[in-house]
Amino acid sequence: MLVVALLMVGIVVAMVVALAIDSMLSIRQFGFGFLTGQRWDPIKGEFGALPFVYGTVASSAIALLISVPFSLGIAIFLVEQAPHYLSRPIGFLIELLAAIPSVVYGLWGIFVLAPFLRQYVEPPLAKWFGWLPFFRGTITGIGLLTGGIILAIMVTPIISAVVRDVLTAVPGSQREAALALGATKWEMIRVVLVNGAPGIAGAIILGLGRALGETMAVTMVIGNRPEISLSLFDPSYTIASAIANEFTEATGDLYLSALVELGLILFLVTFIVNGIARVLVWNVTRKTGGVGRAA
Protein backbone atom coordinates (compact mmCIF):
# COMPACT_ATOMS: atom_id res chain seq x y z
CA MET A 1 0.00 0.00 0.00
CA LEU A 2 2.85 2.34 0.81
CA VAL A 3 4.19 1.66 -2.68
CA VAL A 4 0.90 2.79 -4.20
CA ALA A 5 0.87 5.91 -2.05
CA LEU A 6 4.40 6.67 -3.21
CA LEU A 7 3.15 6.13 -6.76
CA MET A 8 0.72 9.04 -6.32
CA VAL A 9 3.58 11.32 -5.36
CA GLY A 10 5.51 9.83 -8.28
CA ILE A 11 2.74 10.67 -10.74
CA VAL A 12 2.76 14.33 -9.78
CA VAL A 13 6.55 14.51 -9.97
CA ALA A 14 6.53 12.66 -13.30
CA MET A 15 3.95 15.09 -14.67
CA VAL A 16 6.07 18.11 -13.84
CA VAL A 17 9.27 16.49 -15.12
CA ALA A 18 7.77 15.14 -18.36
CA LEU A 19 6.02 18.41 -19.20
CA ALA A 20 9.15 20.40 -18.32
CA ILE A 21 11.41 18.22 -20.47
CA ASP A 22 9.15 18.42 -23.48
CA SER A 23 8.72 22.17 -23.18
CA MET A 24 12.46 22.83 -22.70
CA LEU A 25 12.91 23.85 -26.33
CA SER A 26 10.26 26.54 -26.01
CA ILE A 27 11.41 27.63 -22.55
CA ARG A 28 14.98 28.07 -23.82
CA GLN A 29 13.86 29.93 -26.90
CA PHE A 30 11.43 32.40 -25.33
CA GLY A 31 12.11 32.45 -21.58
CA PHE A 32 9.64 34.61 -19.69
CA GLY A 33 8.80 36.39 -22.93
CA PHE A 34 6.53 33.41 -23.65
CA LEU A 35 4.03 34.74 -21.14
CA THR A 36 4.11 38.33 -22.34
CA GLY A 37 4.34 37.77 -26.09
CA GLN A 38 1.18 38.87 -27.85
CA ARG A 39 1.64 37.11 -31.16
CA TRP A 40 0.91 33.41 -31.71
CA ASP A 41 1.96 32.70 -35.24
CA PRO A 42 3.03 29.09 -35.80
CA ILE A 43 3.95 29.75 -39.43
CA LYS A 44 6.50 32.40 -38.53
CA GLY A 45 7.57 30.47 -35.44
CA GLU A 46 6.40 33.17 -33.05
CA PHE A 47 4.85 31.86 -29.87
CA GLY A 48 3.53 34.32 -27.31
CA ALA A 49 0.96 33.00 -24.86
CA LEU A 50 -0.54 36.27 -23.63
CA PRO A 51 -3.74 35.99 -25.74
CA PHE A 52 -4.40 32.56 -24.22
CA VAL A 53 -3.66 33.74 -20.71
CA TYR A 54 -6.02 36.66 -21.25
CA GLY A 55 -8.78 34.46 -22.69
CA THR A 56 -8.44 31.96 -19.85
CA VAL A 57 -8.51 34.58 -17.11
CA ALA A 58 -11.30 36.62 -18.72
CA SER A 59 -13.60 33.66 -19.38
CA SER A 60 -13.06 32.33 -15.86
CA ALA A 61 -13.73 35.76 -14.38
CA ILE A 62 -17.03 36.04 -16.27
CA ALA A 63 -17.93 32.54 -15.15
CA LEU A 64 -17.29 33.34 -11.48
CA LEU A 65 -19.12 36.68 -11.65
CA ILE A 66 -22.24 34.89 -12.80
CA SER A 67 -21.82 31.66 -10.92
CA VAL A 68 -20.89 32.81 -7.41
CA PRO A 69 -24.18 34.56 -6.53
CA PHE A 70 -26.14 31.68 -8.00
CA SER A 71 -24.11 29.04 -6.20
CA LEU A 72 -24.45 30.83 -2.89
CA GLY A 73 -28.19 31.19 -3.44
CA ILE A 74 -28.57 27.50 -4.22
CA ALA A 75 -26.49 26.39 -1.24
CA ILE A 76 -28.35 28.73 1.13
CA PHE A 77 -31.68 27.50 -0.16
CA LEU A 78 -30.74 23.85 0.21
CA VAL A 79 -29.16 24.11 3.65
CA GLU A 80 -31.14 26.84 5.39
CA GLN A 81 -34.55 26.90 3.79
CA ALA A 82 -35.68 23.85 1.89
CA PRO A 83 -37.45 21.15 3.91
CA HIS A 84 -35.65 17.80 3.99
CA TYR A 85 -37.93 16.13 1.50
CA LEU A 86 -37.05 18.85 -1.03
CA SER A 87 -33.39 19.51 -0.33
CA ARG A 88 -32.23 15.96 -1.06
CA PRO A 89 -33.83 15.44 -4.48
CA ILE A 90 -33.07 19.01 -5.59
CA GLY A 91 -29.52 18.67 -4.36
CA PHE A 92 -29.25 15.52 -6.47
CA LEU A 93 -30.60 17.27 -9.57
CA ILE A 94 -28.00 20.00 -9.19
CA GLU A 95 -25.28 17.38 -8.75
CA LEU A 96 -26.45 15.91 -12.06
CA LEU A 97 -25.53 19.21 -13.71
CA ALA A 98 -21.95 18.43 -12.70
CA ALA A 99 -22.25 14.94 -14.19
CA ILE A 100 -23.04 16.21 -17.70
CA PRO A 101 -19.88 15.76 -19.81
CA SER A 102 -18.06 18.84 -21.02
CA VAL A 103 -18.47 17.93 -24.69
CA VAL A 104 -22.25 17.79 -24.20
CA TYR A 105 -22.23 21.32 -22.77
CA GLY A 106 -20.21 22.31 -25.82
CA LEU A 107 -22.71 20.79 -28.23
CA TRP A 108 -25.57 22.49 -26.41
CA GLY A 109 -23.58 25.72 -26.35
CA ILE A 110 -23.04 25.74 -30.12
CA PHE A 111 -26.60 24.93 -31.13
CA VAL A 112 -28.74 26.39 -28.34
CA LEU A 113 -26.91 28.89 -26.15
CA ALA A 114 -24.93 30.72 -28.85
CA PRO A 115 -27.93 31.35 -31.16
CA PHE A 116 -30.00 32.40 -28.13
CA LEU A 117 -27.38 34.92 -27.00
CA ARG A 118 -26.95 36.21 -30.54
CA GLN A 119 -30.65 36.90 -30.90
CA TYR A 120 -31.93 37.87 -27.50
CA VAL A 121 -29.09 38.83 -25.18
CA GLU A 122 -26.22 40.42 -27.07
CA PRO A 123 -28.21 42.97 -29.14
CA PRO A 124 -29.83 44.58 -26.04
CA LEU A 125 -26.46 44.55 -24.27
CA ALA A 126 -24.91 46.35 -27.25
CA LYS A 127 -27.80 48.81 -27.37
CA TRP A 128 -27.86 49.81 -23.72
CA PHE A 129 -24.29 49.21 -22.64
CA GLY A 130 -22.57 49.84 -25.97
CA TRP A 131 -20.80 52.84 -24.42
CA LEU A 132 -18.71 50.36 -22.46
CA PRO A 133 -15.79 48.81 -24.36
CA PHE A 134 -16.98 45.34 -23.28
CA PHE A 135 -20.12 45.33 -25.39
CA ARG A 136 -18.96 46.49 -28.80
CA GLY A 137 -18.17 44.77 -32.04
CA THR A 138 -19.80 42.22 -34.27
CA ILE A 139 -22.45 40.06 -32.69
CA THR A 140 -21.95 36.42 -33.60
CA GLY A 141 -22.98 34.53 -30.49
CA ILE A 142 -19.56 32.88 -30.49
CA GLY A 143 -17.03 34.52 -28.22
CA LEU A 144 -15.80 35.33 -24.75
CA LEU A 145 -19.27 35.98 -23.29
CA THR A 146 -20.69 32.65 -24.48
CA GLY A 147 -17.61 30.83 -23.19
CA GLY A 148 -17.97 32.53 -19.82
CA ILE A 149 -21.66 31.69 -19.53
CA ILE A 150 -21.15 28.02 -20.42
CA LEU A 151 -18.37 27.89 -17.83
CA ALA A 152 -20.69 29.50 -15.28
CA ILE A 153 -23.27 26.76 -15.78
CA MET A 154 -20.55 24.14 -15.41
CA VAL A 155 -18.92 25.45 -12.23
CA THR A 156 -22.15 26.35 -10.42
CA PRO A 157 -22.88 22.78 -9.22
CA ILE A 158 -19.28 22.42 -8.05
CA ILE A 159 -19.19 25.64 -6.05
CA SER A 160 -22.67 25.14 -4.62
CA ALA A 161 -21.89 21.56 -3.53
CA VAL A 162 -18.84 22.69 -1.56
CA VAL A 163 -20.64 25.71 -0.08
CA ARG A 164 -23.39 23.32 0.99
CA ASP A 165 -20.85 21.24 2.92
CA VAL A 166 -19.38 24.38 4.45
CA LEU A 167 -22.74 25.78 5.56
CA THR A 168 -23.76 22.40 6.97
CA ALA A 169 -20.57 22.42 9.04
CA VAL A 170 -21.45 25.74 10.69
CA PRO A 171 -22.72 24.81 14.18
CA GLY A 172 -26.46 25.02 14.77
CA SER A 173 -25.85 27.05 17.92
CA GLN A 174 -24.80 29.99 15.72
CA ARG A 175 -28.20 29.96 14.05
CA GLU A 176 -30.06 29.54 17.31
CA ALA A 177 -28.12 32.40 18.89
CA ALA A 178 -28.92 34.73 16.00
CA LEU A 179 -32.59 33.82 15.98
CA ALA A 180 -32.82 34.12 19.77
CA LEU A 181 -31.52 37.70 19.51
CA GLY A 182 -34.42 38.49 17.23
CA ALA A 183 -32.66 38.23 13.87
CA THR A 184 -34.79 37.67 10.78
CA LYS A 185 -34.13 34.57 8.70
CA TRP A 186 -31.88 36.49 6.31
CA GLU A 187 -29.93 38.11 9.15
CA MET A 188 -29.41 34.63 10.60
CA ILE A 189 -28.18 33.41 7.21
CA ARG A 190 -25.69 36.27 7.08
CA VAL A 191 -24.27 35.15 10.43
CA VAL A 192 -23.88 31.65 9.00
CA LEU A 193 -22.20 33.02 5.85
CA VAL A 194 -19.70 35.02 7.91
CA ASN A 195 -18.94 31.89 9.92
CA GLY A 196 -18.28 29.87 6.80
CA ALA A 197 -16.48 32.65 4.91
CA PRO A 198 -13.06 30.97 4.57
CA GLY A 199 -14.71 27.77 3.34
CA ILE A 200 -16.86 29.71 0.89
CA ALA A 201 -13.72 31.42 -0.40
CA GLY A 202 -12.22 27.96 -0.81
CA ALA A 203 -15.26 26.78 -2.75
CA ILE A 204 -15.03 29.75 -5.11
CA ILE A 205 -11.31 29.15 -5.69
CA LEU A 206 -12.09 25.49 -6.36
CA GLY A 207 -14.58 26.63 -8.99
CA LEU A 208 -11.93 28.95 -10.41
CA GLY A 209 -9.53 26.02 -10.74
CA ARG A 210 -12.16 24.08 -12.64
CA ALA A 211 -12.99 27.02 -14.90
CA LEU A 212 -9.33 27.69 -15.74
CA GLY A 213 -8.78 24.14 -16.99
CA GLU A 214 -12.15 23.41 -18.58
CA THR A 215 -11.53 22.50 -22.19
CA MET A 216 -14.12 21.06 -24.54
CA ALA A 217 -17.16 23.23 -23.89
CA VAL A 218 -15.13 26.42 -24.02
CA THR A 219 -13.26 25.34 -27.14
CA MET A 220 -16.55 24.80 -28.91
CA VAL A 221 -18.06 28.22 -28.21
CA ILE A 222 -15.27 30.73 -27.60
CA GLY A 223 -14.24 31.20 -31.23
CA ASN A 224 -10.60 30.17 -30.95
CA ARG A 225 -8.84 33.27 -32.22
CA PRO A 226 -5.61 34.28 -30.41
CA GLU A 227 -6.37 37.98 -30.11
CA ILE A 228 -6.75 40.20 -27.10
CA SER A 229 -9.92 42.25 -27.31
CA LEU A 230 -11.81 44.02 -24.56
CA SER A 231 -15.15 43.23 -26.15
CA LEU A 232 -16.93 40.21 -24.73
CA PHE A 233 -18.57 39.63 -28.11
CA ASP A 234 -15.24 38.98 -29.83
CA PRO A 235 -13.79 35.52 -30.24
CA SER A 236 -11.05 34.60 -27.83
CA TYR A 237 -8.88 31.58 -27.03
CA THR A 238 -7.96 29.82 -23.80
CA ILE A 239 -4.83 27.89 -22.85
CA ALA A 240 -6.75 24.62 -22.66
CA SER A 241 -8.54 25.10 -25.97
CA ALA A 242 -5.29 26.01 -27.72
CA ILE A 243 -3.82 22.68 -26.61
CA ALA A 244 -6.97 20.79 -27.61
CA ASN A 245 -7.16 22.40 -31.05
CA GLU A 246 -3.57 22.58 -32.15
CA PHE A 247 -1.79 19.66 -30.49
CA THR A 248 -2.40 17.06 -33.19
CA GLU A 249 -1.76 19.60 -35.94
CA ALA A 250 1.46 20.95 -34.49
CA THR A 251 4.19 20.67 -37.07
CA GLY A 252 7.73 21.19 -35.92
CA ASP A 253 9.36 20.62 -32.57
CA LEU A 254 9.18 24.23 -31.41
CA TYR A 255 5.42 24.43 -32.02
CA LEU A 256 4.78 21.22 -30.08
CA SER A 257 7.11 22.33 -27.34
CA ALA A 258 5.28 25.65 -27.02
CA LEU A 259 1.98 23.78 -26.64
CA VAL A 260 3.45 21.49 -23.99
CA GLU A 261 4.68 24.59 -22.17
CA LEU A 262 1.10 25.85 -22.19
CA GLY A 263 0.16 22.55 -20.56
CA LEU A 264 2.90 22.97 -17.96
CA ILE A 265 1.66 26.48 -17.12
CA LEU A 266 -1.91 25.22 -16.81
CA PHE A 267 -0.76 22.35 -14.58
CA LEU A 268 1.20 24.59 -12.22
CA VAL A 269 -1.52 27.23 -12.00
CA THR A 270 -4.36 24.77 -11.35
CA PHE A 271 -2.21 22.80 -8.88
CA ILE A 272 -1.57 25.93 -6.82
CA VAL A 273 -5.16 27.18 -7.10
CA ASN A 274 -6.56 23.80 -6.06
CA GLY A 275 -4.05 23.50 -3.23
CA ILE A 276 -5.14 26.84 -1.78
CA ALA A 277 -8.81 25.91 -2.14
CA ARG A 278 -8.37 22.55 -0.42
CA VAL A 279 -6.60 24.08 2.55
CA LEU A 280 -9.36 26.68 2.99
CA VAL A 281 -12.20 24.15 2.69
CA TRP A 282 -10.48 21.55 4.90
CA ASN A 283 -9.96 24.04 7.70
CA VAL A 284 -13.64 24.89 7.90
CA THR A 285 -15.22 21.49 7.40
CA ARG A 286 -12.72 19.77 9.72
CA LYS A 287 -12.82 22.12 12.65
CA THR A 288 -16.57 22.08 12.90
CA GLY A 289 -17.23 18.82 11.08
CA GLY A 290 -19.58 16.45 12.81
CA VAL A 291 -21.47 19.18 14.64
CA GLY A 292 -25.15 18.90 13.90
CA ARG A 293 -26.99 21.50 11.88
CA ALA A 294 -29.97 23.51 13.00
CA ALA A 295 -33.13 21.56 12.50
Binding site: A5, A18, P69, I74, F77, E80, A99, L107, T215, M220
Partner: protein, 280 residues
Protein backbone atom coordinates in the same frame (compact mmCIF):
# COMPACT_ATOMS: atom_id res chain seq x y z
CA UNK B 1 -47.74 43.07 14.16
CA UNK B 2 -49.29 46.49 14.13
CA UNK B 3 -46.53 48.03 16.26
CA UNK B 4 -43.72 47.26 13.89
CA UNK B 5 -41.42 50.19 13.27
CA UNK B 6 -40.43 51.06 9.72
CA UNK B 7 -36.95 49.67 10.30
CA UNK B 8 -38.41 46.35 11.35
CA UNK B 9 -40.67 46.26 8.34
CA UNK B 10 -37.62 46.85 6.15
CA UNK B 11 -35.77 44.01 7.86
CA UNK B 12 -38.63 41.62 7.31
CA UNK B 13 -39.05 42.69 3.70
CA UNK B 14 -35.33 42.25 3.02
CA UNK B 15 -35.46 38.81 4.56
CA UNK B 16 -38.45 37.81 2.45
CA UNK B 17 -36.91 39.14 -0.77
CA UNK B 18 -33.53 37.51 -0.21
CA UNK B 19 -34.92 34.12 0.78
CA UNK B 20 -37.15 34.18 -2.31
CA UNK B 21 -34.13 35.00 -4.44
CA UNK B 22 -32.25 31.95 -3.19
CA UNK B 23 -35.22 29.78 -4.13
CA UNK B 24 -35.21 31.40 -7.59
CA UNK B 25 -31.50 30.59 -8.03
CA UNK B 26 -32.23 26.96 -7.28
CA UNK B 27 -35.22 26.93 -9.60
CA UNK B 28 -33.11 28.37 -12.44
CA UNK B 29 -30.37 25.78 -11.99
CA UNK B 30 -32.84 22.91 -11.97
CA UNK B 31 -34.57 24.51 -14.97
CA UNK B 32 -31.26 24.67 -16.86
CA UNK B 33 -30.71 20.96 -16.19
CA UNK B 34 -34.16 20.01 -17.40
CA UNK B 35 -33.88 22.19 -20.52
CA UNK B 36 -30.54 20.63 -21.43
CA UNK B 37 -31.77 17.07 -20.83
CA UNK B 38 -35.03 17.49 -22.72
CA UNK B 39 -33.32 19.22 -25.61
CA UNK B 40 -30.87 16.32 -25.94
CA UNK B 41 -33.68 13.77 -25.85
CA UNK B 42 -35.74 15.74 -28.38
CA UNK B 43 -32.88 16.27 -30.83
CA UNK B 44 -31.29 12.88 -30.38
CA UNK B 45 -34.23 10.55 -30.63
CA UNK B 46 -34.78 11.11 -34.40
CA UNK B 47 -31.52 9.63 -35.65
CA UNK B 48 -31.46 6.84 -33.13
CA UNK B 49 -32.01 3.35 -34.56
CA UNK B 50 -30.34 -0.06 -34.62
CA UNK B 51 -28.38 0.73 -37.75
CA UNK B 52 -27.02 3.94 -36.20
CA UNK B 53 -25.94 2.03 -33.10
CA UNK B 54 -24.05 -0.65 -35.03
CA UNK B 55 -22.72 0.98 -38.21
CA UNK B 56 -19.35 2.70 -38.62
CA UNK B 57 -19.10 6.36 -39.66
CA UNK B 58 -19.64 7.12 -43.36
CA UNK B 59 -19.18 10.19 -45.55
CA UNK B 60 -21.87 12.87 -45.41
CA UNK B 61 -25.10 11.81 -47.08
CA UNK B 62 -24.59 8.09 -46.60
CA UNK B 63 -25.84 7.69 -43.05
CA UNK B 64 -23.42 5.72 -40.96
CA UNK B 65 -23.36 5.17 -37.25
CA UNK B 66 -21.45 5.07 -34.02
CA UNK B 67 -21.05 1.33 -33.45
CA UNK B 68 -17.27 1.53 -33.43
CA UNK B 69 -17.37 4.54 -31.13
CA UNK B 70 -19.57 2.74 -28.61
CA UNK B 71 -17.31 -0.31 -28.64
CA UNK B 72 -14.25 1.96 -28.47
CA UNK B 73 -15.61 3.83 -25.46
CA UNK B 74 -16.39 0.55 -23.70
CA UNK B 75 -12.88 -0.77 -24.38
CA UNK B 76 -11.33 2.45 -23.11
CA UNK B 77 -13.44 2.21 -19.95
CA UNK B 78 -12.36 -1.42 -19.51
CA UNK B 79 -8.66 -0.57 -19.81
CA UNK B 80 -8.91 2.44 -17.54
CA UNK B 81 -10.95 0.53 -14.94
CA UNK B 82 -8.45 -2.34 -14.96
CA UNK B 83 -5.65 0.10 -14.16
CA UNK B 84 -7.39 2.85 -12.25
CA UNK B 85 -9.77 1.02 -9.92
CA UNK B 86 -7.25 -1.27 -8.14
CA UNK B 87 -4.73 1.54 -7.77
CA UNK B 88 -7.34 4.01 -6.57
CA UNK B 89 -8.78 1.56 -4.06
CA UNK B 90 -5.28 0.75 -2.75
CA UNK B 91 -4.52 4.45 -2.25
CA UNK B 92 -7.85 4.82 -0.44
CA UNK B 93 -7.05 1.88 1.84
CA UNK B 94 -3.64 3.35 2.55
CA UNK B 95 -5.12 6.74 3.46
CA UNK B 96 -7.81 5.31 5.72
CA UNK B 97 -6.21 2.26 7.35
CA UNK B 98 -2.45 2.44 7.18
CA UNK B 99 -0.97 5.87 6.62
CA UNK B 100 -0.79 8.42 9.35
CA UNK B 101 1.10 11.56 10.12
CA UNK B 102 2.64 13.98 7.68
CA UNK B 103 3.28 11.65 4.78
CA UNK B 104 -0.32 10.44 4.65
CA UNK B 105 -1.47 14.05 4.93
CA UNK B 106 0.75 14.95 2.00
CA UNK B 107 -0.57 12.04 -0.06
CA UNK B 108 -4.16 13.04 0.73
CA UNK B 109 -3.39 16.59 -0.31
CA UNK B 110 -1.81 15.42 -3.57
CA UNK B 111 -4.73 13.12 -4.33
CA UNK B 112 -7.21 15.91 -3.69
CA UNK B 113 -5.27 18.34 -5.81
CA UNK B 114 -4.89 15.80 -8.62
CA UNK B 115 -8.69 15.68 -8.87
CA UNK B 116 -8.57 19.30 -9.96
CA UNK B 117 -5.86 18.97 -12.61
CA UNK B 118 -7.43 19.72 -16.00
CA UNK B 119 -7.93 16.52 -17.95
CA UNK B 120 -6.32 18.07 -21.03
CA UNK B 121 -3.06 18.30 -19.08
CA UNK B 122 -3.34 14.59 -18.29
CA UNK B 123 -3.68 14.08 -22.03
CA UNK B 124 -0.49 16.02 -22.75
CA UNK B 125 1.33 14.05 -20.05
CA UNK B 126 0.24 10.68 -21.46
CA UNK B 127 1.16 11.90 -24.95
CA UNK B 128 4.66 12.62 -23.66
CA UNK B 129 5.18 9.32 -21.81
CA UNK B 130 3.28 6.84 -24.00
CA UNK B 131 2.33 8.17 -27.43
CA UNK B 132 5.76 9.64 -28.22
CA UNK B 133 7.77 6.51 -27.27
CA UNK B 134 5.24 4.21 -29.02
CA UNK B 135 5.19 6.56 -31.98
CA UNK B 136 1.43 6.25 -32.49
CA UNK B 137 -1.90 7.02 -30.88
CA UNK B 138 -3.40 3.98 -29.18
CA UNK B 139 -6.24 2.62 -27.10
CA UNK B 140 -3.70 1.87 -24.36
CA UNK B 141 -2.63 5.51 -24.17
CA UNK B 142 -6.27 6.61 -23.99
CA UNK B 143 -6.99 4.06 -21.27
CA UNK B 144 -4.01 5.19 -19.20
CA UNK B 145 -5.09 8.82 -19.50
CA UNK B 146 -8.57 7.96 -18.24
CA UNK B 147 -7.09 5.78 -15.47
CA UNK B 148 -5.00 8.72 -14.23
CA UNK B 149 -8.21 10.73 -13.91
CA UNK B 150 -9.95 7.84 -12.15
CA UNK B 151 -7.34 7.10 -9.47
CA UNK B 152 -7.78 10.21 -7.28
CA UNK B 153 -11.59 10.04 -7.47
CA UNK B 154 -11.69 6.36 -6.49
CA UNK B 155 -9.05 6.90 -3.80
CA UNK B 156 -11.00 9.61 -2.02
CA UNK B 157 -14.39 7.86 -2.15
CA UNK B 158 -12.79 4.61 -0.96
CA UNK B 159 -11.15 6.44 1.93
CA UNK B 160 -14.43 8.03 2.92
CA UNK B 161 -16.33 4.74 2.73
CA UNK B 162 -13.72 2.94 4.85
CA UNK B 163 -13.88 5.69 7.45
CA UNK B 164 -17.61 5.08 7.81
CA UNK B 165 -16.87 1.60 9.14
CA UNK B 166 -17.17 1.82 12.97
CA UNK B 167 -13.97 1.64 14.96
CA UNK B 168 -15.47 -1.02 17.24
CA UNK B 169 -15.34 -3.51 14.35
CA UNK B 170 -11.60 -2.98 13.88
CA UNK B 171 -11.01 -3.16 17.64
CA UNK B 172 -13.08 -6.31 17.95
CA UNK B 173 -11.06 -8.07 15.26
CA UNK B 174 -7.76 -6.89 16.71
CA UNK B 175 -8.83 -8.06 20.18
CA UNK B 176 -9.45 -11.52 18.76
CA UNK B 177 -5.81 -11.58 17.74
CA UNK B 178 -6.13 -10.85 14.04
CA UNK B 179 -3.13 -9.07 12.50
CA UNK B 180 -3.66 -5.63 10.94
CA UNK B 181 -3.74 -6.91 7.34
CA UNK B 182 -6.45 -9.45 8.18
CA UNK B 183 -8.52 -6.81 9.94
CA UNK B 184 -8.31 -4.61 6.85
CA UNK B 185 -8.91 -7.34 4.27
CA UNK B 186 -11.31 -9.52 6.21
CA UNK B 187 -13.39 -7.05 8.21
CA UNK B 188 -13.11 -3.42 7.12
CA UNK B 189 -13.13 -3.83 3.33
CA UNK B 190 -16.08 -6.26 3.21
CA UNK B 191 -18.05 -3.89 5.44
CA UNK B 192 -17.40 -1.02 3.05
CA UNK B 193 -17.53 -3.05 -0.19
CA UNK B 194 -20.79 -1.70 -1.55
CA UNK B 195 -19.70 1.87 -0.84
CA UNK B 196 -16.40 1.30 -2.63
CA UNK B 197 -18.28 -0.20 -5.57
CA UNK B 198 -20.56 2.81 -5.91
CA UNK B 199 -17.53 5.10 -5.75
CA UNK B 200 -15.99 3.08 -8.56
CA UNK B 201 -19.17 3.39 -10.62
CA UNK B 202 -19.21 7.17 -10.19
CA UNK B 203 -15.59 7.33 -11.32
CA UNK B 204 -16.48 5.29 -14.42
CA UNK B 205 -19.40 7.63 -15.15
CA UNK B 206 -17.10 10.61 -14.78
CA UNK B 207 -14.41 9.38 -17.19
CA UNK B 208 -16.90 8.05 -19.72
CA UNK B 209 -17.71 11.67 -20.51
CA UNK B 210 -14.09 12.77 -20.90
CA UNK B 211 -13.04 14.07 -24.29
CA UNK B 212 -10.02 16.29 -23.86
CA UNK B 213 -7.56 13.61 -22.65
CA UNK B 214 -8.52 11.33 -25.56
CA UNK B 215 -7.93 13.84 -28.37
CA UNK B 216 -4.25 13.05 -28.67
CA UNK B 217 -3.99 9.72 -26.92
CA UNK B 218 -6.77 7.48 -28.30
CA UNK B 219 -7.20 9.97 -31.16
CA UNK B 220 -10.16 8.42 -32.99
CA UNK B 221 -10.85 6.05 -35.82
CA UNK B 222 -13.45 5.34 -38.48
CA UNK B 223 -13.33 1.57 -38.07
CA UNK B 224 -14.06 -1.09 -35.50
CA UNK B 225 -11.01 -1.60 -33.28
CA UNK B 226 -8.56 -4.34 -34.24
CA UNK B 227 -5.94 -4.10 -31.55
CA UNK B 228 -5.13 -2.02 -28.52
CA UNK B 229 -2.01 -0.40 -29.92
CA UNK B 230 -3.92 1.37 -32.65
CA UNK B 231 -5.95 4.58 -32.52
CA UNK B 232 -9.47 3.91 -31.31
CA UNK B 233 -12.78 5.72 -31.66
CA UNK B 234 -14.77 6.97 -28.69
CA UNK B 235 -18.26 8.40 -28.29
CA UNK B 236 -17.07 11.71 -26.89
CA UNK B 237 -14.45 12.45 -29.54
CA UNK B 238 -16.96 11.43 -32.20
CA UNK B 239 -19.52 13.87 -30.77
CA UNK B 240 -16.91 16.62 -30.76
CA UNK B 241 -15.83 16.01 -34.35
CA UNK B 242 -19.41 15.90 -35.60
CA UNK B 243 -20.44 18.96 -33.57
CA UNK B 244 -17.77 21.21 -35.07
CA UNK B 245 -18.34 19.89 -38.62
CA UNK B 246 -20.36 22.04 -41.03
CA UNK B 247 -22.90 19.33 -41.94
CA UNK B 248 -26.46 19.16 -40.63
CA UNK B 249 -26.54 15.39 -40.93
CA UNK B 250 -23.48 15.06 -38.71
CA UNK B 251 -24.98 17.51 -36.23
CA UNK B 252 -28.04 15.27 -35.98
CA UNK B 253 -25.75 12.29 -35.41
CA UNK B 254 -23.87 14.23 -32.73
CA UNK B 255 -27.16 14.75 -30.86
CA UNK B 256 -28.07 11.08 -31.18
CA UNK B 257 -24.62 10.01 -29.94
CA UNK B 258 -25.02 12.47 -27.07
CA UNK B 259 -28.30 10.84 -26.14
CA UNK B 260 -26.51 7.48 -25.95
CA UNK B 261 -23.70 8.96 -23.86
CA UNK B 262 -26.08 10.75 -21.51
CA UNK B 263 -28.12 7.60 -21.01
CA UNK B 264 -24.95 5.84 -19.88
CA UNK B 265 -23.69 8.66 -17.65
CA UNK B 266 -26.98 9.64 -16.03
CA UNK B 267 -28.01 5.98 -15.79
CA UNK B 268 -24.97 5.20 -13.65
CA UNK B 269 -25.52 8.31 -11.52
CA UNK B 270 -29.16 7.48 -10.87
CA UNK B 271 -28.45 3.82 -10.10
CA UNK B 272 -25.76 4.85 -7.62
CA UNK B 273 -28.17 7.30 -6.04
CA UNK B 274 -30.85 4.64 -5.60
CA UNK B 275 -28.35 2.14 -4.18
CA UNK B 276 -26.95 4.58 -1.66
CA UNK B 277 -30.19 6.31 -0.70
CA UNK B 278 -30.54 4.46 2.56
CA UNK B 279 -27.03 5.00 3.77
CA UNK B 280 -26.64 8.78 3.61
Amino acid sequence: MADLSNADRMRRATSAVMTTLTALCTLLAVGALLIILFYIAWQGIDSLNIQFLTDTPRPVGEGGGIGNAILGSLLLLLISSAIGLPLGICVGIYLSEIGSGRFAGAVRFIVDTLTGIPSIVTGVFVYAIIVLPMKNFSAIAGGVALALIMIPIVARTTEEMLKLVPHSMREGALALGAPQWRVTLGVVIPAAASGIATGAMLAIARVSGETAPLLFTAFGSRFYPNSLDEPIASLTVQIYNYAISPYDEWHAQAWAATLVLMTLVLGINIIVRILTRKRF
